[in-house]
Amino acid sequence: MEAAKKEKIRVLFTRNLFEGHDIGLRGIVHKCRESGIEVVYYPRFKDFNEVVKVAEEEDVDIVGISSSSGAHVYLAEGLISSLRERGMDIPLIMGGVISDKDILRLKEFGVKGIFGPGSTPDEVVSFIFTLLDKH
């Protein structure tokens, strides 16, 4: 991939095929677009390689997963290892119904930002800007 600086930050937002909840994610996608972030919205993925492939093809800077079914730990573990296998160092952020105890576990796996219940779309947007500034 050519290192030429892209004009805008690009984020892939997606969720697991089984995931029903999406009010939160819809709000975040909207807020990101309003803030000048280019969003690739991939409604649902079936397996981790699919996410890796889309992230690669769309040349995104961040992958965001929404999970409220309770499978977040499984999803984080699987996705991060799939990204690593492919040699990709794209930061992963997650949001949804995630308890405090699990937030610690997700951080250990290397999830960069976790937005549990009560987080706002604005928090996600400012996190993305801050993270990519440093990245």
Binding site: F18, G20, S69, D122
Partner: protein, 562 residues
């Protein structure tokens, strides 16, 4: 409005803030759905309303005031609290706990692999087994789940609103049959609504037409064999939870119900033979008065639709019978004990709105599946309403209120307009195929977010009256035992090795032959036979899918072994 995190010392008082609070007044003078609200409502707002024709006493057409003449004086609403997590044995324990605390009905919630109709040992199920409900891969799970529960005496709501509903329903009646119980005596509800589920459970595994065919199988089977069973609980609730408004909840729910009714009539059933067992599942949200008016408007409109559009003649066919689940989307994780108050207000909406069956959410739901303690409080909320407040002593106590009657009319008028729009598209299935419903949901979600951001909609603890985040959820967080998935997968694998393969093969073969006979062939009896041989949900669904020209596995990973 006090919206900043308290950083001052306790003894400091912000005098400006105090003055501001004293003079503060409501800034949003519309209902949640956007109907303008006037200073006061008077007899002039009831002009043109004919009591006998438009409102009528409870128990009389069009049932605006309730479906029974004496409402709760005959019997309280059914008090349910949903149970469903981890293994069947875990859920069984929770159901017994709830029974001992005084519920008058059960409600069983399944996990997502079950909704999809894949077995626990399917590779795609990984990470989801027993997580958001109980896993019901085979009849063995249902047997364990219902162990010690007298099926001939209790009312059970099976919440599995997908095209797998016929299999879960058959699991339930098969357990009853094996215990020697006459299925004609079973009382309960199956959330047999695959159309709504595409907005709420993820992309469905089966195409719309096959899903609706299977839904009609349940209606037909119950019409012939199970007079006390509610054949559909059409789920307007989940639609409302996406953010749509009150008239849309009514219109979308009714349009979905009409799809099933039309198909059941095409199957050859007489509308009066089954309409009395169609029920609904509605939300009760925080706009107290509007939500009560919504339930009254729904009752009146449904009566008209059944009588005028479908020509139903029996009064039982005209009655809008419904359960309420308080609005989960109104609950917030900030200051979570406040949710108990929200749930109480919503439960009161349901009772004043004439509900038949009520489920109160638990205050910890924005954070996790409910704990025993939080579910007990949810149940106590219902019991306090029933036994301490006196609100159940008379039918429709708010009937005749100038505002309520006026709003009931407005909501009905708006719902009628939306129904007309959907009719013109060719019905709900068509509106779904065109993604018109998706657009409505998307617009609603954006509007909601904007209203919260600009504080047009105030949510205490979220955009006003914020306190420092609590470190712990009061009462603790309920966690699914981590060994659940591994154990359930092992159970399923061992079942597949130890069951009588010959019997599975024979019953699956018969199911395939029946399924190949076309849409008119009711598959419930052959599903039940296959279940008795311990065929799994994946095997049963796969066999039906193949007969309909689809891949055996919705993910096209597994192949049929039979």
């Amino acid at each position: 409005m006090g919206d900043s995190v308290k950083t001052q010392k306790r003894e400091d008082i912000k005098i400006d803030g105090l003055m501001e609070a004293y003079f503060e007044k409501p800034n949003r003078l519309t209902t949640c759905s956007g109907f303008p609200v006037k200073d006061i409502y008077t007899p002039a707002d009831l002009d043109g309303i004919d009591y006998e024709g438009n409102i009528a006493n409870a128990g009389e057409y069009p049932f605006t005031r309730g479906i029974h003449q004496n409402m709760y004086r005959g019997r309280y609403w059914t008090m349910r609290e949903a149970g469903g997590y981890a293994r069947a044995a875990d859920t069984n324990k929770r159901l017994k706990f709830l029974a001992n605390e005084g519920v008058s009905g059960f409600s069983i919630f399944r996990d997502l692999p079950t909704v999809w109709g894949i077995d626990a040992d399917h590779p795609m199920a990984e990470g989801e087994v027993g997580v958001s409900g109980v896993n019901l891969t085979s009849l063995k799970d249902m047997e364990e789940l219902l162990d010690g529960i007298p099926l001939d005496k209790v009312s059970v709501a099976l919440l599995c609103a997908s095209s797998l509903a016929p299999v879960i329903f058959s699991q339930y009646i098969t357990v009853a049959e094996k215990r020697g119980i006459d299925i004609a005596k079973l009382r309960g509800t199956i959330a047999n609504d695959p159309l709504h589920s595409r907005y709420c459970y993820g992309k469905p595994g089966n195409p719309i037409d096959l899903s609706v065919k299977l839904a009609v199988d349940i209606i037909e089977f119950c019409t012939k064999h199970m007079p006390f069973w509610n054949t559909n609980s059409v789920n307007a609730y989940d639609m409302r939870e996406t953010g749509i408004n009150a008239p849309e909840e009514i219109a979308f729910g009714f349009e979905i119900a009409m799809e099933y009714i039309r198909k059941a009539i095409e199957r050859g059933l007489d509308v009066d033979d089954f309409a009395g067992r169609i029920s609904f599942y509605f939300s009760a949200g925080m706009d107290f008065l509007e939500e009560i008016a919504k339930l009254r408007a729904a009752r009146r409109l449904w009566a008209k639709i059944m009588k005028e559009r479908f020509g139903a003649k029996k009064p039982g066919s005209w009655k809008f019978r419904f359960g309420v689940h308080t609005a989960g989307s109104s609950l917030v994780p900030q200051q979570p004990l406040n949710n108990i108050i929200r749930i109480t207000i919503e439960a009161l909406v349901a009772v004043l709105g004439g509900v038949q069956s009520l489920h109160c959410c638990s205050y910890d739901e924005p954070i996790a599946l409910p704990s025993e303690e939080s579910q007990r409080i949810a149940l106590r909320t219902q019991q306090i309403l029933a036994y301490e407040t006196g609100v159940a002593n008379t039918a429709d106590p708010l009937g005749g209120s100038y505002f309520i009657e006026n709003l009931t009319n407005k909501i009905e008028e708006e719902a009628v307009k939306i129904i007309k729009e959907i009719d013109e598209m060719g019905g709900m299935a068509e509106a779904m195929k065109k993604e018109w419903v998706d657009q409505k949901i998307d617009q609603a979600a954006l509007q909601l977010q904007k209203e919260i951001e600009n504080k047009e909609r105030v949510i205490v603890g979220v955009n006003a009256f914020i306190t420092a985040p609590e470190n712990k959820t009061p009462g603790g967080v309920h966690r699914i035992p981590p060994e659940t998935e591994r154990e359930q997968i092992a159970n399923v694998k061992s079942l597949k090795e130890t069951r009588d393969r010959k019997k599975v093969k024979e019953t699956i073969k018969r199911l395939r032959e029946r399924a190949q006979m076309g849409e008119g062939e009711n598959l419930i009896p052959s599903i039940s036979e296959a279940l008795k041989a311990y065929a799994t949900v994946g095997e049963i669904q796969g066999t039906i899918r193949e007969a309909y020209g689809l891949t055996y596995d919705p993910f096209d990973i597994m192949k049929s072994q039979y």
